[in-house]
């Protein structure tokens, strides 16, 4: 699962696409770890834009948990943005919304990181 990204101030928005399940979670975890390394070097937070994710299984959620733990050890952070309705419901059912901050839009997620990141997003 190729992970495209865009940077907005002190935030890197990563946008995976497709399904996140047992079949592809290992690759996703590797790619997400690389994005997290880049965030650490940049001193940036990671916004996971989930708008392109159709479904996430427990294995996919485990990848997010591992990344969140890695971020915590590096004084960084990960937030989730724009989940599709089904994914938003899965995040609630699994109680992941209590572990990772989940925002309805990418802009809201960026605003939680810094006003500058939200302003950069507004400018496109």
């Amino acid at each position: 699962m190729p992970l495209s990204h865009r940077s907005y101030g002190a935030a890197r928005v990563v946008s995976p696409r497709g399904r996140l399940d047992h079949d592809n979670c290992e690759g996703f975890q590797r790619d997400l770890a690389a994005q997290l390394d880049a965030c650490t070097q940049e001193g940036a937070a990671l916004v996971l834009d989930m708008s392109g994710i159709e479904y996430v299984s427990s294995a996919g959620l485990r990848c997010l948990m591992i990344a969140a733990k890695q971020a915590a050890t590096r004084a960084s952070r990960i937030v989730v943005a724009s989940p599709q309705p089904v994914v938003a419901e899965i995040l609630q059912i699994s109680r992941f919304n209590l572990v990772l901050p989940v925002f309805g839009t990418t802009r809201e997620a960026l605003a939680s990181i810094s006003p500058q990141a939200a302003q950069a997003f507004d400018k496109g």
Partner: protein, 318 residues
């Protein structure tokens, strides 16, 4: 084939408090909303049919004990948690003067799974035969230890029943009194074993105190094969998924979410959430059931999966 749940709680027995009862009564009165009942029967029917389970009932507080009534004269039960006391009373009432033969299958010997045995009435009745099956080499030691000073006043040697310990091996089918049972090693502190039972064309998987991580494809495939096409899967759903893979990772328990996923992968027919977290209220367990049913709905494939939550006293006919 009837499955009867005598104990469904994890880790330690719990009981409703006075405050819990008051809360249920207050909620029931609010739900009745000025309704008038002419008789106890009318009020009973309202409580039974119109109120949420968590208001009119309780999931109960006894620890693991699940009976399989197979139609055979002998008894079959998984684990000897505190629910075993009531199970023993049931046997004594049903048997009258006739001594019983009881086949026990032990997932492991943590205290919540053996604590009912000293209060299991048939163990004190001469002529009763109790076969305790399990895969742990410390099986007999654990049962004797909990009935040694200073833990309990009646020693194991004083029990009237004839008690034998039968060692099973993971992956090897074992046949006893018309029942076929295959154990499978599970991830839990000190190891635990799940059991797949087959009888009369029906299959039941009892898998408690097991942390199914699904991070290893080979292990996941083995679990799915163990669950394959089961009519009933009794599943350790103690935590939420987020808990199970964060603050409670490696505590040896699973979640409702993983239960749904594994049963769907295996084509199982009925998932029963089991080994409820003792800190969870009836409303919280009902919420976990609601969530599991919704997840099943969201992710349903060709075959629907029925999802239930076990409660003390639940009976399921297969």
């Amino acid at each position: 084939m009837r499955v009867r749940f005598w104990g469904t709680r994890g880790s330690i027995p719990v009981a409703l408090t006075a405050a819990d009862i008051r809360d249920k009564l207050a909620r029931a009165l609010v739900a009745a909303s000025g309704r008038r009942f002419e008789s106890y029967g009318e009020a009973y029917a309202f409580a039974q049919e119109a109120l949420p389970f968590s208001v009119s009932h309780s999931f109960g507080g006894h620890t693991s004990c699940v009976e399989f009534e197979t139609g055979h004269a002998e008894y079959f039960v998984c684990d000897m948690g505190s629910g075993a006391r009531a199970f023993g009373e049931h046997i004594l009432a049903r048997q009258g003067e006739r001594p019983a033969t009881v086949n026990v299958f032990m997932s492991h010997v943590h205290w919540d799974h053996i604590m009912g045995f000293p209060f299991f009435g048939p163990a004190y009745v001469p002529g009763t035969r109790i076969r305790i099956h399990g895969c742990h080499d410390i099986l007999e030691h654990a049962f004797r230890l909990q009935q040694s000073p200073p833990c309990f006043p009646v020693s194991f040697e004083q029990l009237g029943a004839t008690i034998e310990f039968v060692r099973l091996a993971a992956g090897k089918p074992f046949h006893v009194s018309g029942l076929s049972v295959t154990p499978q090693l599970q991830r839990h502190s000190g190891d635990s074993y799940g059991y797949r039972f087959e009888i009369g064309g029906r299959s039941i998987v009892y898998t408690t105190d097991s942390e199914h991580k699904l991070e290893d494809r080979v292990q996941t495939a083995a679990i799915v094969a163990f669950f394959r096409d089961a009519d009933l899967v009794i599943f350790d759903a103690m935590y939420s998924l987020a808990e199970a893979i964060s603050v409670k990772e490696d505590w040896g328990h699973s979640s409702n979410v993983v239960g749904v996923e594994l049963c769907q992968m295996a084509g199982a027919k009925h998932l029963v959430l089991f080994h409820h977290e003792p800190a969870n209220s009836d409303a919280a367990i009902e919420g976990a059931l609601r969530d599991a049913r919704r997840l099943e709905e969201l992710t349903r494939g060709a075959q629907p999966l029925r999802v239930s939550a076990a409660h003390d006293g639940l009976e399921i006919d297969l």
